[in-house]
């Protein structure tokens, strides 16, 4: 009798234990299901607002507050005078002579080339780059009406882009430096400059004009212009690929050197502003 009672009690205990275990398993299963659902569906974060709408987060972007650093021309009591020789309207039949003279003096210069001339002398574009000079752009046509009288900057920018492509095809170099035919003032106003900056170009005018166009029969006039104008620590000197330039170039170089100037070539990594409007974007 005692043994029967004991067996019944044991069986009852077993049933109770089984029910508790089942309840426990169901409870754990439900708990894991709920947590799992949250993890999979909502990943444990609350993404739903009170109105039943999901809260959305946008990812961030960088602020680009820095810019190129300027090279000092005066520092620690030292002063450096630098001259940039620049040649417009080439390449043409005078360019090889200019290159020869520059090579003789171990000077690198900056060439603002016309697209129409580049199409006729692709070999010279390559020579300019191969010899360490900087290829820059001066439009395709140099046509004042087409470039500045259309009512927008479109023609100007299109021509610079076309010229840019020619340089790239000939040399593999993508240059962004341009010079506006006839200079940037007065014809290039602010909205025009907005478009140039937007297109990613940098624009150089000059600080000293040799007025070579005026001295075809008297190249020494160019030297006089330089003697009169050479004053700043950094000078960007305007010349053209012309006969008179070839004739006077050795003397110009000698005079500029004698005044304590070193010659530099444009470097996009050391760009500085040289435009008549002092537009910092260019």
């Amino acid at each position: 009798m005692v043994r029967v009672d004991s067996r019944r009690r044991n069986q009852r205990k077993k049933w109770i234990l089984r029910i508790i275990l089942l309840a426990l398993l169901v409870g754990i299963g439900f708990g894991v299901y709920t947590v799992g659902k949250q993890l999979w569906a909502h990943d444990g974060i609350s993404t739903t607002s009170k109105q039943g709408q999901h809260v959305v987060t946008s990812v961030a972007a960088f602020d680009t507050v820095t810019k190129e650093k300027q090279s000092p021309t005066m520092y620690n009591g030292m002063k450096r005078k630098v001259a940039y020789l620049t040649f417009d309207d080439g390449p043409n039949s005078h360019t090889p002579e200019i290159l020869r003279i520059l090579k003789e003096h171990n000077i690198k210069a900056t060439f603002f080339m016309l697209g129409n001339s580049m199409q006729q002398h692709p070999d010279l574009i390559k020579q300019i780059v191969d010899e360490g000079h900087y290829p820059a752009l001066h439009s395709m046509t140099h046509n004042f009406t087409k470039l500045y009288r259309s009512g927008s900057a479109n023609n100007f920018i299109e021509e610079q882009k076309e010229a840019q492509q020619l340089v790239k095809e000939a040399t593999g170099v993508t240059t962004n430096l341009i010079r506006a035919p006839y200079g940037s003032a007065p014809q290039i106003k602010e909205p025009f400059r907005d478009d140039i900056a937007e297109a990613g170009f940098k624009m150089w005018d000059w600080t000293l004009d040799t007025l070579d166009w005026n001295y075809a029969k008297n190249p020494s006039g160019m030297l006089d212009e330089v003697k009169r104008g050479l004053k700043k620590d950094t000078e960007v000197i305007l010349m053209h690929d012309r006969k008179q330039t070839v004739e006077i170039l050795p003397e110009l170089i000698e005079y500029i050197s004698s005044q304590g100037y070193e010659f530099e070539v444009y470097d996009p990594n050391a760009h500085f502003v040289v435009n008549f409007h002092h537009d910092e974007r260019l």
Partner: protein, 224 residues
């Protein structure tokens, strides 16, 4: 002993079934939403690093100009300022590393999301979801390159400040150091712009995906 093994087996089965049920429970669009938003939310922890970087870079630019200005006659006048400016270079690198780490951690949430995109129907914004995922992946890859490139920029910045600080510095060497720094900066700037483009593409495409998938959203937040 055998009965405990059975019980553990039953328990494991219940747990596995519950997880599978939970996984199957949410539609792919919901899972993608969750992945995208969890990623964006994880990145929000980097907001301070983005801001810190901006502030430090801005201050560096101003201090460089001051160093050149006040150091014209003698760099003895600017030794302390150069040292101060150099000390923030490490902070800039650290801030960039923080950004990279947060973006990397955030990317974990979307790294395996392609299978969910594949399950979407075109009407559920499949194309937009795919584009958002591509943009986010490229953005992640870009930040890896950016962090590496930023290290080179910091090295070049340090070399430039060392030049400015040196007693026997000369202008030709300074110019060379500036060129080297600007070269590295140009590449960093390009990568930043690339990163920003992908950020915009991700934000735009995920919004378009939510709209197409019928997920109602509340644009209250930004990670920055």
């Amino acid at each position: 002993m055998k009965s405990w093994k059975n019980k553990i087996g039953v328990l494991a089965m219940i747990v596995a079934m519950a997880m599978m049920l939970a996984a199957c429970g949410a539609p792919s669009s919901e899972k993608l939403f969750s992945s995208f938003e969890q990623a964006a939310s994880t990145e929000s922890a980097a907001a301070a690093a983005f801001e810190e970087l901006k502030q430090l870079e801005s201050r560096d630019q101003k201090q460089y100009d001051t160093i050149l200005d006040k150091g014209e006659r003698s760099n003895v006048n600017v030794q302390t300022l150069i040292t101060q400016t150099m000390s923030t270079l490490d902070q800039r690198q650290q801030a960039m590393t923080k950004v990279k780490d947060k973006v990397t951690a955030a990317y974990e949430h979307v790294a395996k999301a392609q299978s969910q995109v594949d399950k979407l129907e075109p009407a559920q914004g499949k194309e937009q979801a795919a584009q958002a995922l591509t943009a986010y992946t490229k953005r992640y890859e870009t930040v890896q390159q950016l962090a590496a490139q930023y290290e080179k920029l910091i090295t070049a910045e340090r070399a430039l400040y060392e030049q400015l600080k040196a007693e026997q510095t000369n202008l030709k060497q300074l110019q060379q150091a500036v060129r080297e720094r600007n070269q590295q900066w140009t590449q960093v700037n390009q990568l930043k712009q690339q990163f920003n483009q992908y950020s915009e593409q991700f934000n735009t495409n995920k919004d378009a995906f939510y709209k197409a998938a019928g997920i109602q959203t509340d644009k209250a937040n930004s990670s920055k």
